[in-house]
C-alpha cells in the first residue's frame, strides 16, 4: 500500500512539474494521470499493490469532495442573491450536457456498428 501511494504521489509530482514546465492549462494531477497511463501501457501490466490501492481510493472518491463542498456555507449569501438564475443554470446546464454526451456516444456507436456491418 505504501509503495503504491508513493507511486501515485510521484506521478502527481511529475505531473505538477510537467504542467509548470510546459505552461499547460490543466491541473498537475490530470497530467500525472496521463503520465501514469502511458507508463502502464509501456510496462504492460498493473502491479498488484497499485491496483488495490487505486481501487480503494476510487471506491471512496466522493468522500474527498466533502471538505471543498462544505465551503458552500461561505457563499450562501452570494448564491441567494441570484438564486433563480443560478438554480436554473445548475439544472439545465447539467441535464442537457449529460443527455447530449450520452446520446452522442450512443448514436456514434450505433452508426459505427452499422457501417461495420455494411462493409
Amino acid at each position: 500500500m505504501i509503495p503504491a501511494i508513493a507511486t501515485l504521489l510521484l506521478f502527481q509530482l511529475l505531473g505538477e512539474g510537467l504542467v509548470r514546465l510546459l505552461a499547460l492549462p490543466i491541473p498537475g494531477p490530470v497530467a500525472g494521470m496521463a503520465l501514469l497511463f502511458v507508463v502502464l501501457i509501456i510496462h504492460g501490466r498493473v502491479p498488484e499493490g497499485l491496483r488495490t490501492t487505486a481501487g480503494g481510493l476510487l471506491q471512496h472518491l466522493s468522500l474527498l469532495f466533502i471538505p471543498a463542498g462544505t465551503g458552500v456555507i461561505v457563499y450562501v449569501g452570494r448564491i441567494a442573491g441570484e438564486a433563480v438564475p443560478i438554480a436554473a443554470a445548475l439544472v439545465v446546464g447539467t441535464i442537457l450536457p449529460i443527455a447530449a454526451t450520452g446520446l452522442a456516444v450512443k448514436g456514434m456507436e450505433w452508426l459505427r456498428a452499422r457501417r461495420r456491418a455494411a462493409s
Binding site: L64, I66, V72, A88, A89, V92, I95, P97, V105
Partner: protein
Amino acid sequence: MAARTAKGGIVTARLADVWTQLASQPLLWLMATLAAYVTGRWVQDQTKGHPLANPVAIAIILLAAALILTGTPYDTYINGAQILNFLLGPATVALAVPLYQNLDKVRRMLPSLMVGLAIGSTVGVLSSSGTALLLGASKPMVLTLAPKAVTSPIAMGISQTLGGLPPLTAVLVILTGIFAGMFGWPILRLVGVHDPAAAGFAMGTAAHGIGTARAFQIDFTAGTFAGLGMGLNGLATAVIAPPLMTLIMG
C-alpha cells in the same frame, strides 16, 4: 446545594475548555467529516440507493449544520479536513489504473467518445451560461457559471481567465456534481443510454469528479469512462470556453 452548583459550574467550564482545545485541532473535524460521510452512505443504503440520498449532499448538510451550530469558522474546519482535500491529487492520478485496465474498450470507442466530448463540452458551457443570461444573471455570475461542468482546479482557472469569481465557481462545480449525482443516472436511463461506458463518459464530461464518484458506485466500467470524460473535458472546456463566451457575451 450551592456547593453542587459550583461543582457543576466547574465541570461545565472544564468541558468548555476541553472543547475549545479540541475544536481548534485537525482531529475533530477530520473525524467529523468521516462520520458525516459514513452517515451519508448509511442513509443511501437504508433507502436502497435512492438517488436523492446522495452521500456527498447529506455529509455537506450535516457538516454545515455542525459548523453553524458550534460557531466554527470554515477556515478552522478546512484546517482539519485538508488531508482529504489533498488526497484528491493521488486519487486523480489513480484514475489511470482503471483506464489502463479498459484500454481495449477505450481504444475501440475512441472516435465515438471524441464526438461525445465535442458535443458535451459545447453544450455544457452554452447551456449553463445561456440559461443564466436569459434569466437576467449579472455578467460576472454568467462567467462564473460557464465552466461549472469541469473539475474544480481547471474550472477555477477558466473562471479567472473569463473574468468570473473562481472560489464561487468551485462551489458551483460541486453543486453541479451533487445534482448530477442525484439525477444524472436516471436521466441517462430516461433518454435510453444504458451502456455503462457511454453513460459513465457522460457523467464525467458533464459532472467531473463527483459524477465520476457516483459512476464508480454504480458500475466500475462506468466509473472508468467517467474519469476519462472528466480529464478530457477539463482540457476541451479550457480551450473552447473563452471563444464561446466572447461570442455570446459580445
